[in-house]
Symmetry: C2
Subunit: 363 residues, 2 copies
């Protein structure tokens, strides 16, 4: 999904609302008000619900001692300026996807999603128990930011295509709306990656300005209405196999919190992280049924040959990106090391079980 271009259409609010909020006097030393900027339209399903859920939980768990006001993308700062806003002190916190900030440091992408990267449980393991958190904080530290996991939008679909993609040659000349490293892979296969604002996608697909677009998964895609134009819904997406969302917290603000409030915020971030993925998995299952049964959508699996070419191109793209600077290189090497072990374990556990389960009469 290129939430970027979608969000560019959201208007920029004035700073008025925030100024009011920030000016509200604290009632006691322990009372804390958090301003949280986000990259999403207010209450956007899944991703936009995660920061609201954090707000509800922190306010609920502290009986209102800590409150958090969530701003939709563009209300206080532009959707893709969340990291800057927290670095500069406009807000204490953001909820976003850290690959939006690869312009600040390429290595940021590895903490969200890269082509052929981690699946949701794998990135959770890396961040929480495999050394990922420490590296994420080192990257964030360059910008005065402490990070916590903020949900996962799950495995993404490969996208909506005007025709079925049958061989790798079908990508030659293909105009596809797909951002970042994923777009670089499409370019390497002879296609063109296009950036379009969200509101422009449907008409562009209709008029043939683009031949294909990726978005998120069944739940968000059904709401977006892409099935009305393209019927070939390809899977699996190679570009975002499990996008981790991020809470970015101002380091000076974080360091000023009591140890107990730091513990509380960490626990709540983990809870939101868990719950957001569960929302995606639950709603994707239901939406998939609706798309296929009610809207005549055809599910098309990318062939093994196409996937091998995706993989070759992705390796080149990541090898280049992963060596952009010393800190990114450190992150990339840790990513590759954990990824190899994660793949070995996934292969003989979830992956093998899912494949065998599909063979039984009990599915």
């Amino acid at each position: 999904m290129d939430r970027r271009s979608f969000l560019k259409t959201a208007g920029l609010g004035t700073g008025a609302a925030a100024a009011t909020s920030l000016a509200t006097p604290a009632l006691s030393q322990n009372r804390i008000q958090i301003t949280c900027v986000t990259s999403w339209p207010k209450n956007f399903p899944g991703i936009g619900e995660a920061p609201e859920r954090f707000a509800t939980l922190i306010e609920g768990a502290t009986d209102g001692r800590i409150t958090m006001k969530v701003y939709g993308g563009g209300e206080l700062v532009p959707p893709l300026k969340c990291n800057d806003a927290v670095q500069e002190g406009t807000a204490q916190m953001y909820h976003s996807a850290d690959y939006y900030y690869q312009g600040k440091l390429t290595g940021y992408s590895f903490f969200c999603a890269v082509p052929f990267g981690f699946m949701p449980a794998e990135i959770d393991a890396w961040i929480q128990k495999g050394g990922g958190q420490e590296l994420w904080d080192e990257v964030g530290g360059q910008f005065g930011i402490k990070h916590l996991p903020g949900g996962n939008s799950g495995s993404q679909m490969g996208g909506w295509f005007n025709k079925k993609m049958q061989t790798v040659d079908d990508f030659k000349g293909l105009k596809m709306r797909i951002p970042g490293f994923g777009g670089d892979v499409i370019t390497a296969l002879g296609g063109t990656s296009v950036t379009l604002a969200g509101s422009e996608i449907l008409p562009a697909l209709q008029s043939g300005t683009i031949d294909a677009t990726e978005w998120v998964g069944p739940w968000n895609d059904l709401a977006f209405g892409l099935y009305k134009v393209a019927k070939n819904y390809h899977y699996p997406g190679f570009h975002e196999p499990g996008s981790l969302l991020s809470f970015g917290i101002s380091r000076p603000f974080w360091d000023g919190l009591s140890e107990s409030d730091q513990t509380l915020m960490t626990a709540i971030a983990y809870a939101v992280n868990n719950e957001t993925l569960s929302s995606y998995n639950t709603n994707n299952g239901q939406a998939l049924k609706t798309l296929v049964n009610d809207h005549g959508v055809e599910l098309v699996e990318f062939s093994d040959d196409i996937y091998r070419e995706f993989g070759k191109a992705a390796k080149d793209v990541l090898d280049k990106a992963g060596n952009s600077d010393p800190l990114t290189k450190k992150v990339y090497e840790a990513f590759l090391d954990f990824r190899a072990k994660a793949i070995d374990w996934t292969k003989i556990s979830d992956q093998s079980y899912a494949n065998k389960r599909a063979l039984t009469p009990f599915v």
Copy 2:
């Protein structure tokens, strides 16, 4: 894993320690002390760490206002009497695996693990967003217990076998230590399911009293030393594809908590839930490498034919169990309904991606 028999070897402590704890006077109306009994040896890797982590987080997040004392299995009550202990008011809370309580209500098993049941992300989705929590509370309600998710030990391995299992006939006459519904499946294939205390497993495997045993996964199995006797490590396990652990909380205790403390405890349970699975995935990846590279363990994948027979037998076992009583029937039907949608989504997301990723040069 049959943690049951393993835990029977743990001695029963006197109630002295708990009595002391329960007798400590509360310093103010808001100070809360929780006694938590568990089914695990103190600090047993993974499963035994989860309740300790809950204690650390709740104590940390409340700056010591809420404290929790965790008892290992047998210290205060027998390992498999946790549910009774909370029902009877001996403890306010337990951490256990709810299939241990299928004797109280068969339907309890569906909230932990059943053969060919949910993978970890699937059961999280069901519990958190798909109506599972409400049913779990209805089941717990029969015994005065409120439930919260308490971690997942991840996909389990198929077990350690003296010889490679090549056809379904190899199960005829096989003596395998495997509990519950999984054991019923082995019996249906002509084998014998055996129950043994943990300390007896290694000698029994060595002497030929049993031919095979399942335990958990690479991390716990490496520590247990089963590779010293049997070298054929089979996968994937059909019997526990993602065992959800459970916090069981006394309903009167829960109802007496403030709404904010209920919110706090829920968030912390979710955090522990997320983190425990990450521990298993991280450590299983590392342990798998050690087992194969340093201990000459051979990984053997069950054949498709064997799996089809597992599936047939499991369906019979579950159909029978799932109709034991009206409440269990209600749970079983909800389980089957969510499972069908979950499988459809898993197939085209994580499962398909994992399979395609394995084909690329980038693994």
